[in-house]
């Protein structure tokens, strides 16, 4: 087992002391730690041995890896790549084939219970043949590496809630990591993909504090997924003013009005895109004129279309939604009520005209039964009382 500190490891790989401290500063503020946060990170990296990382890919598109290598700060990117690319990541590592598998296996054995497993992608439970890596079924491989890991980091919507593979009707029965593995600490870093800096923040936190950050009910780190896009969006004043772009190329869209009417899912989505932004902090979808699609929420693909606030209802025709069906049912109800009124006037004519003799036959049976029951109950109680009274008086004698 390697006991070299993370800092020494980085120094050997050509990272200067100065750059290292810059990294600690950036990460400390990113994670919203106290002023001492950067110090804590530096301290941990200088004293703790490097924790190995195994990065597994299952049913996915590799957008999480793509996002990860685009961290806003080049030093952050360099440092974290040095930290994670070493042991096993079949996309990023230099080794390949049997050699790569051997490295992964060696890490798993040497660092039993001490390495971090990072997963990208969902696990198809429908059939083992749907996804295999080096000839091994995704499910078996996940279980093998999860067994001996310390923490599991689930990257992106695929690993956190199944993403598009898991969308109805989910043909491969794709399931997120936490549905396949139990008894391990799992963090879901949601998004399709997650923001690079969020990924960097989570890795740094885990390496520094040797535990997972505070999670919400979906196992998402609260620091980054505590607020909605909608609550941090710079177009929010337009929303409150009811100023909505009606199409992507109208005058209102040019003015930068809110995209709610065009199906923006910001009001449904917990993520920090509007704060941290994307691609070196350049922009985020809404700033670029397109609504949020809700990629950090479970099952967001089941609430399509992208460009309508009210989701479609599958099974009622692709174009249907709650309002269309509700309006149709309302029409049917009004029609039914009108028909009922007409038939009433025919069928109940004599009753309405008052030319029908009073007929209480429908009520009589019920009333008789109820009254009989009550009378019996009363009599029983009275008899009991009498018995008791006479019993008492006999005792008195």
């Amino acid at each position: 087992m390697n006991t070299e500190s993370m800092y020494n490891h980085l120094r050997k790989r050509g990272i200067s002391r100065r750059d290292f401290f810059k990294f600690c500063g950036v990460m400390g503020s990113m994670l919203g730690l106290k002023a001492s946060g950067a110090e804590q990170i530096a301290d941990a990296f200088m004293t703790k041995p490097r924790i190995p990382v195994i990065w597994q890919h299952f049913q996915e598109c590799t957008c999480c890896s793509e996002s990860f290598i685009r961290c806003s700060h080049p030093i952050v990117e360099q440092i974290l790549l040095e930290m994670v690319s070493l042991d096993y990541d079949d996309t990023l590592q230099a080794a390949g084939g049997f050699q790569a598998e051997a490295v992964a296996e060696k890490t798993r054995k040497d660092y039993k219970g001490n390495y971090i497993l990072m997963c990208e992608g969902a696990i198809p439970l429908g059939n083992k043949g749907y996804c295999t890596i080096a000839g091994e079924a995704a499910e078996d491989r996940l279980k093998r590496f999860a067994e001996d890991s310390k923490f599991i980091i689930a990257w992106g919507n695929c690993a956190s809630s199944g993403c598009i593979q898991h969308a109805k009707p989910n043909p491969t029965d794709a399931q997120p990591i936490h549905k396949v593995i139990s008894g391990k600490e799992i963090i879901n870093v949601q998004g399709c993909p997650p923001i690079a800096d969020v990924m960097a923040g989570v890795i740094t936190y885990v390496l520094t504090f040797d535990k997972l950050p505070e999670l919400d009910g979906q196992r998402r780190p609260k620091v980054f997924y505590g607020r909605r896009i909608h609550d941090t969006c710079y177009r929010r004043p337009c929303y409150d003013a009811g100023l909505f772009a009606q199409s992507f190329d109208d005058e209102n869209a040019k003015k930068g009005y809110c995209l709610y009417y065009l199906g923006c899912k910001g009001p449904n989505t917990f993520n920090s895109c509007a704060v941290i932004k994307w691609n070196l902090g350049v922009s985020y979808p809404i700033q670029s004129g397109h609504g949020c699609i809700g990629c950090a929420e479970p099952n967001f693909w089941d609430y399509m279309p992208l460009y309508s606030h009210i989701p479609s209802t599958y099974g009622f025709g692709v174009e249907s939604n709650a309002d269309k069906i509700g309006a149709a049912l309302t029409g049917i109800a009004l029609g039914g009520v009108a028909t009922h009124a007409v038939i009433t006037n025919v069928r109940k004519r004599r009753l309405i005209k008052g030319s029908m003799d009073d007929d209480f036959s429908l009520n009589e049976k019920d009333t008789e039964e109820t009254i009989q029951e009550l009378e019996e109950k009363r009599d029983r109680l009275i008899n009991k009382k009498k018995d008791e009274d006479s019993g008492d008086s006999e005792k008195d004698k």
């Binding site: 003013a241 009811g242 309302t330 009520v337 009922h340 009433t344 009753l351 209480f360």
Partner: protein
């Protein structure tokens, strides 16, 4: 329209809290449906050029939330009255657990919905079918309050907000909860159409003053039915009294 030749008697059915609940509830649900529909599908009202000159969507949402709070408090009063009210308004009316209620539902279906039987069936309080739909509506109201409060939690500092936000996230967040909340709006619309129609239907054919009963509290009931009812009430009182005596002795 009361028949002069009929022998009708007035009976006090709906106590004040039930009547107040009813009209506050009906009014507030109307407001919630209208504002909710606008929130879900906003019309293009764009007479300002900059957000600083306008706030109409915010006001619609505010009205929705204000009405929601009135709706909740009003409902809490009714829940109390489900236990404290008279025999027509207590909980057992609203859930068909007895054979008698099931028979009543079957008969009401035949008499009033399918119009098969020509002679009427008389009820002093709710008929068992109507009461069951109110029971259903009471449950939908609870669901609407919970889903609404879950969504409201993200914009609230109230003491209950963190717990509700946690619940929201555990139930897979806004997407499913918002959808459910939206669908349930249509349940209220459909209920109101059928309910209002049936109130006037009963008023029209039975001439028992049911429509105004929710305002004044009184209904006009045929003499024999009223007598049976009074007999039943007297018996119930006797039985209750005897049971209490027995209990006290112990």
């Amino acid at each position: 329209m009361i028949q002069k030749d009929k022998n009708l008697r007035e009976i006090y059915v709906w106590q004040l809290p039930v009547r107040v609940f009813h009209w506050v509830n009906a009014f507030v649900i109307t407001i919630l449906c209208i504002t909710g529909f606008i929130i879900g599908d906003p019309p293009a009202i764009q007479h300002a050029t900059a957000p600083s000159h306008n706030y109409w969507f915010g006001i619609v949402r505010f009205v929705h939330f204000f009405a929601a709070m009135v709706f909740i408090v009003n409902y809490l009063v009714r829940i109390y009255w489900l236990f404290a009210g008279n025999s027509f308004s207590v909980l057992r009316n609203y859930y068909p657990l007895t054979k008698k209620q099931w028979r009543g539902i079957k008969e009401t279906l035949k008499v009033d919905v399918l119009l098969i039987t020509k002679n009427p069936i008389y009820d002093i309080g709710h008929n068992p079918l109507a009461a069951t739909t109110y029971g259903g509506l009471f449950i939908i109201m609870i669901l609407q309050i919970i889903t609404g409060a879950m969504m409201f939690s993200v914009q609230s500092n109230a003491f209950w907000a963190p717990a509700m936000q946690d619940l929201l996230i555990r139930f897979n967040g806004f997407f499913p909860i918002r959808s459910l909340h939206h669908w349930l709006m249509w349940a209220f619309v459909l209920f109101a159409i059928v309910h209002i129609y049936l109130v006037f239907y009963h008023d029209y054919i039975e001439k028992n003053g049911i429509a105004s009963s929710m305002i004044g509290g009184w209904k006009f009931i045929a003499q024999p039915i009223a007598e049976d009812y009074e007999k039943e009430q007297a018996l119930r009182k006797d039985v209750e009294h005897l049971e209490k005596e027995k209990h006290n002795k112990k």
